[in-house]
Symmetry: C2
Subunit: 177 residues, 2 copies
């Protein structure tokens, strides 16, 4: 039976601050069928496309990204916060609401000829996802597809990613912020 995935996402009002509706995906992944069906719904449209790797953004993107990598039978690229990866890395800064953050990947695991699918739990303003796409592309790999469990379309991130020639697939959309 196909579940209503949206109904499995818990909404916590006024978190982390007043006026924000926090969309909590843990209730979805902790549900045995919910996790399976959400991974399959992300993987299915990306089969037979020649995807060689799934990249997932720390930490919730690891959960969905690793699941999708297993469903597609490909390798998994962890996109981590600064200083968490050993070995040779490349990094990319991106702006936060207050300040700057950095994500890193290994420098030498993908390159020209590889096709990467970026996966994260949620896209809002898109700052992290756009930084991740740019970072992955610096290796020479192509990154033309990204998938998210939740899209908050009013925050414009998906639109910005499409402007970077990334096709977006999302399972659930919540209007508003």
């Amino acid at each position: 039976m196909q579940l209503n995935l949206q109904s499995l996402v818990r909404t916590i009002p006024d978190y982390p601050r007043k006026g924000v509706m926090f969309r909590d995906i843990t209730t979805l992944i902790e549900h045995p069928e919910g996790f399976k069906q959400s991974i399959e719904a992300i993987a299915a449209p990306h089969r037979n496309m020649g995807i060689t790797h799934v990249a997932g953004i720390e930490a919730r993107g690891f959960i969905f990204g690793a699941g999708v990598a297993i469903a597609l039978g490909v390798g998994f690229i962890p996109v981590r916060k600064k200083g968490k990866l050993t070995g040779e890395t490349i990094g990319q800064n991106y702006a936060l609401e207050y300040g700057v953050d950095t994500i890193e990947i290994h420098a030498d695991v993908i390159g020209p000829g590889d096709k990467v699918l970026l996966v994260d739990d949620l896209i809002a303003t898109g700052g992290t996802a756009i930084a991740a796409v740019g970072l992955l592309r610096r290796t020479g790999a192509s990154v033309n597809h990204a998938a998210f469990v939740i899209d908050l379309p009013d925050l414009g991130g998906a639109e910005k990613l499409r402007a970077e020639n990334v096709a977006i697939h999302s399972l659930i959309a919540f209007e508003g912020h």
Copy 2:
């Protein structure tokens, strides 16, 4: 073809400090066949056992745990560092080399009748794994199986877990520290 998984783990000597051989599993997961085969090797002995959930420990345990949950078709319980989960949680302290840390899970997603498989990338002294087993058992769920990609048997963690009536499955063992 069955890969030699051990040969896909990169060893970084004297990291994070002199005398420690750091076992880096990213080279294993970034290898398309390596990730797939390591997940299948963890999942296979745990099929047809009535496992209802896989619990993975933040952050590398998310990668393996989510993959195994998808391979087994069950839900995924994130065991997170303090303050990372929203909603009602329960927590467990455990000793570090210097100081104390805390892990948390949601209070209400598993209970009596559930059978949880704990998954992490590596078991060394076992402090975090033993804390996770104790925390998961406080819900009433049974936690009689744990799986690790790497065991460092000389550090004694696997032995301590077995003394807590947890059967251990690991893919790779490295002697020494």
